[in-house]
């Protein structure tokens, strides 16, 4: 199988490589401007060709909640969003807490057209926070990360043990840093808006307290701890302090925490209900500053699909989560890059080299021999978000109808065109 991506501007972490025809053969990049017969041509003229994005944080709901998402729909959604490797979270039914489930996911994903599945496994059995999983067996079965994401690990001793095992095994630990008792029954950010609306609040202190614990345990054990979906100024300040002190932590932020605030909840629409919650404009400013100054290491989606019926329950009953794999790049490009507050190169870094570095994977490059995981971006054409056309089973989105630029028009994974047309 040989592909040519013709006439695109080649951008990767090494810089602007100019306008070229990029050739792909048998799953790897073959070279530039080689000519010769190809099986498929992809028109990239006037567009940007760049390594496919890496998402270290997606809820694919498979097994057990296929009504929300499954491997096929989730990996197709990721491909449509320009993603190559996607780390799937372990809070499925049953929980990904044994090597058999990991192996089954890997085997089934190999038969699915779309992004590459890189499964995470649970820290505790059943995500109950009581018993450690067998981290070595999970890693051997193909898990690339351990996390109880969706549920904070309340027991600090258990978290420490997990970090000790993970450090020895070279596994990445991803946290869900919220203190459960401070979070209490909170369904949105605690502050002037939650008090005005009479909705139970989840204070930023719940995040800051747990980021501190998670970071100190990382320092104590030497485990590489990725602080998922940091949402607040205070949480990020604590993470900065930890990093400055040499703790082996990295920081993830999400597209929704970078673009939405708790003011959205004035609509009482559970489409905005997410954990950790949407914070204030000051928090958004702080997270955006962190993208520029290096406090943030990666942007992960925390893609968390639910059915429309679940999201049309009341604010107390509706589940937490926003499905965003298919809008992440256009959203961030339009709001941050097109407005001049973030250079394109930096946004790409946070979606490519940043997450690769967090995982200890090679930085993705447009060089001969590198895996052919590529995305073609149209930075010019403006299109309205239309959730009904999502590949994800979650067709509702906070950004419905918003005009965005920067759409991924083609995605190549392992040398195959998995999104867009040849």
């Amino acid at each position: 199988m040989r592909l040519a991506l013709r006439g695109g501007r080649l951008l990767d972490g090494a810089g602007d490589r100019g306008v070229h025809d990029l050739y792909v053969r048998d799953g790897v990049i073959e070279g530039l401007d080689l000519g010769g017969e190809v099986d498929l041509d992809v028109d990239a003229a006037g567009r940007v060709v760049t390594p496919a994005f890496l998402d270290l944080h997606a809820h694919l709901r498979d097994p057990g909640q296929e009504v929300k998402e499954d491997l096929a729909s989730g990996l197709a959604a990721a491909a449509a969003g320009g993603y190559g490797p996607v780390v799937s979270m372990a809070n499925t039914i049953p929980v990904v807490d044994g090597p058999g489930i990991v192996a089954d996911l890997v085997a089934r994903a190999a038969r699915v057209e779309g992004a590459r599945l890189r499964p995470a496994a649970a820290i505790s059995k059943g995500l109950r926070g009581e018993e450690l999983t067998d981290l070595a067996a999970l890693k051997a079965a193909g898990a690339v990360m351990v996390t109880d994401d969706g549920v904070p690990v309340a027991d600090s001793r258990l978290f420490r043990s997990a970090c000790e095992y993970a450090a020895a095994l070279g596994l990445i630990v991803q946290t869900h840093s919220e203190d459960p008792s401070l979070r209490d029954g909170g369904v949105m950010n605690e502050g002037a808006v939650s008090q005005r609306l009479g909705l139970p609040g989840n204070p930023d202190a719940s995040e800051a307290v747990m980021v501190f614990r998670d970071g100190e345990v990382a320092r104590l054990t030497g485990a590489r701890v990725h602080l998922a979906h940091v949402s607040s100024r205070r949480g990020l300040e604590v993470a900065r302090w930890l990093k400055a002190g040499g703790a082996p932590v990295t920081v993830e932020v999400t597209p929704h925490h970078l673009t939405l605030t708790d003011e959205c909840l004035r609509s009482f629409d559970p489409v905005y209900k997410v954990a950790p919650p949407l914070r204030t404009a000051a928090d958004v400013e702080a997270l955006r500053a962190g993208l520029v100054d290096g406090a943030v290491d990666s942007i992960g989606t925390d893609h968390a699909p639910h059915t429309l019926a679940e999201k049309q329950q009341d604010m107390l009953s509706a589940p937490f989560g926003i499905a965003n794999l298919e809008v992440a790049f256009p959203l961030l490009y339009t709001r941050l890059v097109a407005t001049g507050s973030l250079p394109l190169e930096r946004l790409l870094w946070l979606l490519q080299d940043g997450p690769a570095r967090v995982m200890g994977w090679p930085a993705p490059r447009l060089e001969p021999g590198a895996p052919a995981d590529l995305t073609v971006l149209d930075l010019e054409a403006e299109r309205e978000v239309d959730g009904t056309r999502f590949k994800s089973k979650a067709k509702h989105t906070p950004w419905q109808g918003e005009a965005l630029r920067g759409w991924p028009v083609a995605t190549v994974v392992a040398g195959r065109l998995v999104h867009g047309e040849g």
Binding site: R196, G198, L199, S267, D269, Q312, D314, L316
Partner: protein, 335 residues
């Protein structure tokens, strides 16, 4: 009898309210003028209720549905009486008696109810925001009868109606029609955090020109509410009562307050029960209010609740005319 009822002239439609508002969800977007108009309509309705035939044909042909996802016999009956006194048909839906199951969305429930073709839905729900959600989905009008901790606007309206009348009778009529509480202070005492009554009253009394002091134990008194214009907070009941024109005690719902929030009920009673001595530091005419039902000798001493300054029974009585005015304003405006 119907003929006699028909001779009672219907009140002038509060046209401005009807034109500007399809729903009553909270007081967001409501002007003091809109509220003054509603309160005046309620006065006319109160006169209707003193007649031998307590019924006008104003809402004949309309259907009002009461959707109560949370128990409240008193509020539901008050709304149903208000609808029937204007000859509307009434449909009652109580979640407890329905097949409402976990996982069924609020929207699914509405779809079912909408088949009954009501013109107006009176909604109570344990979650804040459900009336807003329903208002997005239905062509009918929505009246919020209490949603979680968020709002209970008809309670605030009947409190304002009651207090305005009591002040007038005490020789203190409002100086301005649309700002009847200018220069007045209302102290609200109790579990402010969990109280939709406190939030709606704070919103409405300040809209009508008054000042509101919210008072309660620190763990139940959200600091952020002090950002609302005209609203002050204090944990000291003596300070809250000082120079107040009315003292309103909130119902303590013991089931909501575990020992992590409140050390004991005795501690609450000792520090936050409204007593005679609080009236002594308030204005000489100060009134005692409570949204009911009262936990006697918990939030307020029986002496005060049953005393000459108590408006508690008048608050209950005001419920029907005020709700009549709300239903009338929202339905007749759509005609």
């Amino acid at each position: 009898m119907i003929g006699a009822a028909a001779q009672v002239p219907p009140p002038t439609p509060p046209a401005a309210v009807a034109r500007r508002h399809r729903h009553l969800l909270d007081f967001e977007g409501w002007t003091a003028e809109d509220v003054a108009s509603l309160l005046e309509t309620a006065e006319v309705m109160a006169q209707v209720l003193t007649r031998p035939v307590k019924r006008v044909p104003a809402l004949q042909g309309y259907t009002v549905a009461t959707l109560f996802f949370e128990e409240s016999t008193r509020t539901r009956l008050s709304f149903e009486r208000a609808a029937r006194a204007q000859s509307a048909d009434v449909i009652s839906f109580a979640a407890g008696s329905s097949s409402l199951k976990k996982g069924e969305s609020v929207r699914d429930t509405l779809r079912t109810i909408e088949q009954l073709q009501a013109d107006l839905y009176v909604v109570r729900h344990p979650s804040a925001g459900v009336p807003h959600q329903l208002a997005r989905w239905t062509a009918g009008a929505v009246v919020n009868a209490g949603d979680g901790r968020h709002a209970h606007p008809t309670q605030a309206l009947l409190d304002a109606y009651t207090l305005r009348a009591a002040l007038t009778e005490a020789g203190l009529p409002p100086a301005e029609r649309a700002r009847p509480f200018a220069g007045r202070r209302l102290a609200i005492v109790g579990d402010v955090e969990h109280s939709r009554v406190a939030r709606s009253n704070a919103e409405l009394f300040t809209l009508l020109g008054g000042e509101v002091v919210l008072c309660g134990p620190a763990a139940l008194l959200p600091r952020e509410l002090s950002r609302l214009p005209g609203v002050h907070l204090t944990t000291d009941l003596d300070e809250a009562a000082r120079d107040a024109d009315a003292l309103m005690a909130l119902r303590i719902q013991r089931e909501r307050l575990g020992p992590r929030r409140l050390p004991s009920l005795a501690e609450y009673v000792a520090r936050y029960q409204l007593r005679e001595r609080h009236l002594e530091v308030a204005e000489p005419h100060a009134f005692v209010m409570h949204p009911g039902p009262i936990n006697r000798d918990v939030e307020v001493s029986s002496e005060l609740a049953d005393g000459p300054r108590s408006l508690v029974e008048r608050q209950v009585a005001s419920g029907v005319p005020v709700r009549m005015a709300v239903l009338y304003a929202l339905l007749v405006g759509k005609r």
